[in-house]
């Protein structure tokens, strides 16, 4: 892109944000909460693999690779190490294996959705779903603030590390206060300034905002819908069978 021209880019991520929301829900229900039990096992496998595929489409190769690596290690542990240990170690190992197995796909789906959805896409999706501003605006602010909170936290931790030696031991009980209070203070201050800046630019002035962000369903969304529909039908058939 040249220095001084800009045309609204039509490049969109593969999926409509509404489809992404649906996927998060499906991951939560099917993979995390394992609804449907053994009956839906193969569907669960499909949906557990889906985030990896989506990360590839979003060019997040590194995340995808690390995810696959973690999964590989887990399967290695499950099939080669687990059968040979017992007692408490086996219990701990099993918990680790199962938790990572369940959380990893949902987590990676979250990473994909957060990374590939802009705040305005999210807003557009919520508007289309008739979710009121009272819910969407706070959630937009949350998306905006999570990375900030992480930055603040990292800086505070670094500062404590530098001065840390003198904290430990003597005032261990104060650690919480020293960590949590500055994090809240810094975030609240940033939030206040964000609020001032947003209001001077008219947030909430008109009842109906414009949104220059266009969202719409494409072929990929239809594939996902069909997949979800198939899962649903198969599940219902299973329940009544």
């Amino acid at each position: 892109m040249s220095e001084d021209t800009w045309t609204s880019s039509k490049k969109k991520s593969l999926l409509d944000p509404r489809t992404k929301l649906l996927l998060i829900f499906v991951e939560a229900v099917l993979v995390l909460a394992t609804t449907g039990g053994e009956h839906l096992f193969w569907f669960r496998v499909v949906f557990a693999m889906l985030p990896f595929l989506l990360l590839l489409t979003a060019k997040r190769y590194k995340t995808c690779f690390i995810g696959l690596l973690v999964l590989g290690v887990i399967y290695f542990l499950e099939y080669t190490v687990f059968p040979y240990v017992n007692g408490a170690i086996a219990g701990i190992l099993l918990i680790i294996i199962m938790i990572i197995n369940r959380f990893l796909p949902a987590y990676l789906m979250g990473v994909y959705v957060m990374g590939s959805t802009t705040v305005s896409e999210f807003k557009a999706a919520m508007d289309k779903l008739y979710v009121p501003d009272a819910l969407t605006i706070p959630m937009c602010v949350m998306f905006r603030l999570f990375p900030t909170i992480k930055e603040e936290n990292d800086s505070i931790r670094a500062a404590m590390k530098m001065r840390g030696i003198r904290f430990c031991g003597r005032k261990a009980g104060k650690m919480l206060e020293y960590r949590v209070v500055p994090m809240i203070t810094c975030t609240a201050k940033i939030g206040e300034e964000l609020s001032a800046s947003a209001l001077t630019r008219g947030l909430g002035k008109e009842k109906k905002r414009t949104n220059i962000c266009h969202i719409g369903f494409g072929w990929a969304d239809i594939v996902i819908f069909l997949l979800v529909a198939a899962t649903l039908v198969y599940w219902i058939l299973g329940v009544f069978a």
Partner: protein, 469 residues
């Protein structure tokens, strides 16, 4: 036309102390007015009265009348002013509502429910005028402070307000970024906007102003008209407690003792070796095979971009994992060993203030708590009267001095500072420079990253340029 008539204002927090007293000023449409004066003189208050943040965000008691084009504005809220008055704030990190730049530019016009093609046209126009094509469709978290401030200006520009307020917009910017900001302000000036800039750092816009207003304790101390601005001297500036007027690039001040002459002995220097940092493995942010720092001196590091310098300091300090080695007195220290040897004053001091009082902050920094010692240190940095105050309730310059007091208390031989003078006025900057000079005389080695030429001239012995890789 903006007209202040006998305006007085006191914040609710300090009702007995008036921020503005009987202030009157008329600003014609299309004028560019620079408002300056020492910290706490009331210049931010002035802007907040205009954009409505007073009383909505900052409660207080207002007297007198403020009119824009003949209409009293005390009745209108912040949101009412949107589209008429645009404001650029100080902190580039906090004034974004969105995570990506394009949405941020669209944000204001969207709020005003402008039609979509109008919004797109405005964005395209702003992008062209500000030459920010390369910044579009990016995450704000990957932009530098200067780039963020450009986007902040652009997101005001798309609203096409007639009046533009800038509240210390350069406080967190380095020399180059401030020069860029100057270009944007010049663009607005040429477009006939009414511009009010509240600033400490006046040099980058001094010759753009049509009028300069100097405030002192909420009172108009001096008004300098267009034809007099050029005749205002550095001595006059010092007399009013203002920062310098000359625009000197910090990189032009580079001076290092000639190493080849062999005058510097090994035990007089510390050597920093093998400091590299790359972002995402693609592009090296900086690469320093070797850097010599004289002990017991203040060394300024200039050049390169802000993020690179901050990362470098964090690496030297040891709070960031790195492969750099520091050699002092023939002993090599890896980053792990450097932790606890070096005190660092961060750019955002807020991150390193933890306790509920200034005195406690110093006490926890001492190897052994010693209240009398701590009080002596506070007196040394001029904070004796603030020892019971909450650190976060103090001004930027005072917080900077708390951090320095902690550095003194820590008794550590090495001190790193990251832009210690950003947002400081003349007096506060001098206070910091004085403290550094004193610490140097006590034999401490100080490295400071800075873009502040005036500060460099006052207390830095060596100036090293850090090249961008």
């Amino acid at each position: 036309m903006i007209k202040f008539e006998n305006v007085s204002f006191a914040y609710d927090a300090t009702p007995e102390e008036k921020s503005l007293r009987n202030f009157s000023l008329t600003i014609e449409g299309g004028e560019c007015v620079l408002i300056t004066g020492p910290s706490g003189c009331g210049k931010s208050t002035l802007l907040r009265l205009l954009n409505g943040l007073i009383p909505e965000f900052y409660g207080g008691k207002t007297e007198g009348s403020i009119k824009i084009d003949g209409n009293e504005i005390r009745e209108s809220s912040v949101v009412d002013q949107a589209g008429k008055i645009g404001t650029v704030f100080q902190n580039p990190r906090s004034q974004f509502f969105n995570v990506d730049t394009t949405s941020e530019l669209a944000f204001g016009p969207e709020n005003l429910a402008l039609p979509e093609d109008e919004i797109l046209r405005r964005i395209a126009k702003t992008v062209k005028n500000f030459s920010i094509g390369t910044l579009m469709d990016r995450s704000i978290f990957e932009l530098s402070g200067g780039e963020k401030q450009k986007i902040a200006c652009a997101s005001v520009d798309v609203l096409a307000p007639e009046i533009i307020l800038l509240d210390e917009p350069s406080a967190n910017l380095d020399f180059e970024a401030a020069e860029n900001l100057r270009e944007l302000i010049l663009h607005w000036k040429n477009a006939g906007k009414t511009i009010l800039i509240a600033e400490h750092r006046i040099n980058y816009i001094w010759d753009l102003a049509d009028r300069v207003v100097i405030l002192e304790n909420g009172v108009l101390a001096r008004e300098i008209k267009r034809d007099r601005i050029a005749r205002f001297t550095e001595e006059d500036a010092t007399r009013f407690g203002l920062r310098c007027l000359a625009r000197t690039a910090p990189t032009s001040l580079v001076k290092v003792e000639n190493e080849a002459s062999g005058q510097t002995q090994m035990d007089d220097t510390i050597i920093l070796k093998n400091f590299h940092y790359s972002y995402d493995k693609k592009q090296e942010l900086y690469s320093i095979p070797e850097m010599k720092i004289r002990k017991g001196k203040v060394t300024a590091i200039v050049g390169a971009n802000g993020a690179g310098k901050t990362t470098f300091l964090e690496s030297v300090c040891g709070i960031r994992k790195n492969s750099g080695i520091m050699v002092s007195d023939g002993v090599s220290y890896t980053y792990k060993k450097r932790i606890g040897m070096i005190f660092m004053v961060m750019q955002d001091v807020n991150h390193q203030l933890f306790t509920e009082s200034v005195l406690d902050e110093v006490l926890i920094s001492q190897p052994e708590e010693d209240e009398n010692g701590a009080k002596a240190i506070l007196a040394e940095v001029g904070l004796k009267d603030f020892s019971e105050r909450h650190p976060m309730s103090l001004s930027g310059g005072q917080k900077q001095r708390i951090a320095l007091a902690c550095a003194i208390a820590s008794n550590l031989p090495f001190l790193l500072l990251d832009e210690p003078t950003s947002g400081l006025d003349h007096v506060q900057m001098y206070a910091v420079a004085e403290i550094l000079n004193r610490l140097k005389n006590e034999g401490r080695t100080i490295i400071t990253v800075t873009h502040d030429s005036e500060f460099i001239e006052h207390c830095c012995d060596d100036v090293i340029r850090m090249e961008e890789a």
